[in-house]
Assembly symmetry: C2
Homo-oligomer: 432 residues x 2
C-alpha cells in the first residue's frame, strides 16, 4: 500500500464484497485504515461502516464530515442505521442528525426509541404485509409488479385493517397453493411473535430453538412493527459468545486486536489493578504467617501450589456454570443438585491430588507430616473451589452483575485465600 499503488488498490476494493472490506480494515493497523477508507467508493461506505466494530468505526467517523456520515448512513437498513448511530460519540452524533434530511431524521428518531439490545433495535421495517381476504393470485400479481423482495424474506405477514398481526404466509405456501385460494386459507395462525421490548439474547434463543429465518415484531397492542432476520441473529450469537470469552479475561467486548496502544493499555489496566488488589490481599494473608515462613522457608516454596490448583479447579466449574446459564441449562430448579455435584467432584479430585502431592512432597523433603499438611490444604481448597464455582456466578446473577466479567476474579480471590490460609495455618499448627 505504501508503494503508491492507490489506483490498483481502489480497483481491488471496488470488486470486493463489503464484508471482505470490513475484514481487511479489522486486520489492518490503525494508520492504514484511514488510507484504505478513503479509497472505498462512497456508495458502499455505509454498508462497510455497519460491519465494523465500534473501535474501528469511531476513528473513521471522526475523520469524516457530518454530511458524509449522514449520506453514508442514510442508505442502511433500519437496524444497521440504528447500530451506526448508537455507536457514534455524542458530539458527532448531534452534528450528523442535523445534517440529515427530514425523512432520515424521523427514521433515526424512531429506531433509536427502542432500547439497545432489544428486539425493537434489531428489527427492520421492510416487511411485506397482505390482507387475509384476497386470493393468492392477487398477491402473485402484486409481487410481480413489485419486482423484488427484501432480503431474507421467507414469510409475508397478514394484518387486519388496523395493522394488527393475525398470521403469516410463507413464500413456499404462495408457490404451492392454488391461485384461487384465499390468503386466510393458506396462512399460518399458530405463530409466535416477538414483542419489541424482548431482550436480544432471548430473541436469539427463540431463533435457535425454532430454526427461524425471520420473525415478526409486534408492539404491546399486537400491531406489526417490523421483522427480525437470521443474519442479525447470527451477529447477536457471535457477539454474545465473544462477550463471554473476552469478559472472562477482563476485556471489553468490542476490544479491537489492533486498537492504539494507549487505549489498550488503559483498558487492560483496570483489570490488572483489580488483580493487584487481590494479589495484595493474598500476600497479606501470607504475611499473617510470616514467623512460620521465617522458621520453615520451604513452606514458601510450596505456598503457590495449593492456590494454583484451586484456581484451575474453580475456573473449570465457573466456566461450565456460566455457559450453562447462558444456554439456559442452569435454572432455579437444579441449582441445589448442581451444588451437590460440584461438592462431590471437589471431594474426589481433592482426594486424588491430595494423595499425589503428599507423595511428591514427602519424597522431596523426606517429611511425611509436611505431605499430610499440603494434602489437607489441597483437599479443602478443591472443595471450596467447586462450591465457589457454582455459588459465585449464581449470586452475581441474582445481584444483576455479569458473572463472566466479575466471576473469575472473585473466584481466584477465594481460592487464593482459602488455599494460603489452610496450608500455612495447618503448617503453623502442626509443624512449628
Amino acid at each position: 500500500l505504501s508503494g503508491g499503488m492507490f489506483v490498483h488498490v481502489r480497483n481491488m476494493l471496488d470488486s470486493m464484497p463489503t464484508s471482505d472490506i470490513a475484514l481487511l480494515l479489522h486486520s489492518s493497523p490503525p494508520k492504514s485504515r484511514t488510507v484504505i477508507w478513503q479509497l472505498i467508493d462512497s456508495s458502499i461506505q455505509g454498508e462497510v461502516l455497519e460491519e465494523l466494530s465500534e473501535d474501528v468505526r469511531n476513528p473513521i467517523l471522526r475523520s469524516m464530515t457530518p454530511e458524509k456520515v449522514a449520506e453514508a448512513a442514510g442508505n442502511l437498513d433500519d437496524d444497521d442505521f440504528a447500530e451506526v448511530l448508537r455507536g457514534m460519540p455524542d458530539t458527532i452524533y448531534r452534528k450528523v442528525l442535523k445534517s440529515m434530511d427530514k425523512r432520515d431524521r424521523k427514521r433515526a428518531e424512531r429506531v433509536l426509541s427502542y432500547e439497545e439490545d432489544t428486539a425493537g433495535a434489531l428489527m427492520n421495517t421492510d416487511t411485506i404485509t397482505v390482507r387475509p381476504d384476497v386470493t393468492v393470485d392477487v398477491i402473485l400479481r402484486y409481487l410481480r409488479l413489485k419486482g423484488a423482495l427484501p432480503e431474507a424474506t421467507d414469510y409475508l405477514y397478514v394484518v387486519d385493517k388496523d395493522e394488527k398481526f393475525i398470521g403469516e404466509v410463507s413464500l413456499a405456501a404462495l408457490l404451492t397453493s392454488q391461485p384461487v385460494s384465499l390468503i386466510s386459507e393458506v396462512m399460518e395462525t399458530d405463530f409466535e411473535v416477538i414483542p419489541a421490548t424482548m431482550e436480544e439474547t432471548e430473541v436469539a434463543s427463540l431463533f435457535e430453538r425454532y430454526d427461524w429465518i425471520s420473525a415478526p415484531v409486534i408492539d404491546e397492542n399486537g400491531l406489526l412493527l417490523g421483522r427480525i432476520t437470521i443474519d442479525d441473529i447470527v451477529d447477536v450469537i457471535r457477539e454474545n459468545a465473544a462477550h463471554s470469552m473476552l469478559s472472562m479475561a477482563g476485556l471489553d467486548d468490542e476490544a479491537d486486536t489492533f486498537a492504539p496502544i494507549v487505549k489498550s493499555t488503559q483498558r487492560r489496566s483496570l483489570w490488572l489493578g483489580v488483580n493487584l488488589f487481590t494479589a495484595l490481599l493474598a500476600a497479606f494473608v501470607s504475611s499473617l504467617f510470616e514467623s512460620t515462613l521465617d522458621e520453615l522457608a520451604f513452606l514458601a516454596v510450596l505456598n503457590t501450589i495449593v492456590p494454583s490448583m484451586g484456581g484451575v479447579a474453580g475456573s473449570q466449574t465457573l466456566t461450565l456454570v456460566i455457559r450453562g446459564m447462558a444456554v439456559g441449562h442452569v435454572t432455579q430448579a437444579n441449582q441445589r443438585w448442581l451444588m451437590g455435584k460440584e461438592l462431590a467432584i471437589g471431594f474426589y479430585n481433592g482426594l486424588i491430588w491430595a494423595v499425589l502431592i503428599a507423595g511428591v512432597v514427602a519424597l522431596w523433603k523426606q517429611d511425611l507430616m509436611l505431605g499430610a499438611v499440603i494434602a489437607f490444604a489441597m483437599m479443602m481448597n478443591l472443595i471450596a473451589a467447586g462450591l465457589s464455582g457454582v455459588f459465585i456466578p449464581l449470586m452475581l446473577k441474582r445481584m444483576n452483575i455479569d458473572p463472566a466479567l466479575a466471576g473469575s476474579v472473585i473466584l481466584t480471590t477465594v481460592t487464593d485465600i482459602v488455599g494460603i490460609f489452610t496450608f500455612l495455618g495447618t503448617a503453623t499448627w502442626l509443624l512449628i
Copy 2:
C-alpha cells in the same frame, strides 16, 4: 415428577416443541432423563435425539433397543442422521446399522462417507433442482403439484442434464418474474458454491459474510450433492464459540453440566494434573532460592504477586489473539506489528504497576530497595507476558495444536517462572 404424575407430564411433553424437550433433558440430572425419555412420544424421539449433546444422548441410546434407535433415527434429515450415527458408541452403532432397512443403511453409508466437520457431513440432500430451459410457469405448476417445500428453502438449484450445478433461482425471483420467462433468464449465475470437503468453520464464515440462508454443496466435478442451511450453521457457530471458551478452561467441548460425577472428575483431573506439574515446576524455581527465602521471609509473602499479575496480563493478550485468529483478523501479514504492539503495552502496563507496587511495598516494609526489586520483576514479567501472549498461540497454531486448549497453561507456566525467577533472583543479588 416423583409424585407419579406421569400422565400429566406425558401430555405436557406431547405439546412441547422438540427443542424445548431437549432443553428440559439438558437441565435435568441424569436419573430424571431416562424417566422423561420414556414419556416422550416415539414419533418425535428422533428429532429430540438430534438436538441433544453427545453426553446426554449416549446414555439414552444405550438404554434403547437397536431397533428403536434405527426407527427413531430413520426419520431424520441427512445431516442430523449422520450426527446421531457419528455420536454413537461403536458397539451400539453396528447393531443399529444391522437393524436398519436397506434404504436407510445405504443413506447412512453415504452421509458417513464425508469426514466429520466438513461441508459434506453438514449437508442435506433435500434440494429441489430444475432445468434451465423450462419456463417459470412450468415450475410454479410443478411446485403446486408437489405441495410443500423443504425447510429453509430460499433457492431452487438449476442443473444441466449431467446434474452439474449451473445456477440458482430464488423463490423471490419465481414469485416476481413473469410466468413466461425461462429459468435461464431469471437464474443467478454469479453464485458461490461450497465444495463438500470444505471445513465447517470455513463454511460458517462464508454464511456469516454473505448473509446466506442456504447454499449448494458440490463435488470436485461440479455436480450438485446437496445443500447446507443456516440452522445448521447457527449450531456450528454456537459450538465453536463454546469450544473456545470451554477449552481455555481445559474442558471437553461437549462437556455436560449435569454429567455423572465420576465422568466429570476424570475429565477435569487431566487438566488439574497438567497444572500440578507446572505448579511444581514453579515451586522448583522458588526452591532454587530457598536460602534467600530463609534469610528474608517477607520475600515469600510477596512471591505470588508478580506471577499473578503476569498471568492476568498474559491471559488478556492470549484471549485477544485467539479470538483474533478465530475471526480471521490475525494473519501472517500483521503478526510482527501485533508483537510490537503487545510489547509496548507490556512496557507501559509494566511501568504503571511497577511504580504502584514499589510504592505499596516500600510503605509496607519501609524498604525502598525491596520496592525497587519487585518493581523490576513486575516490569520484566509484564513484558514477557505480552510477548508470550502473542507468540504462544501463533506457535501452537503452526504446530497444529489448538491454542485455546494448550495456550493458557503454557502461558502461565512462562509467566510463573519468569516472575519468580526475576523477583527472587534480583532479590538474592541486591538484598542478600
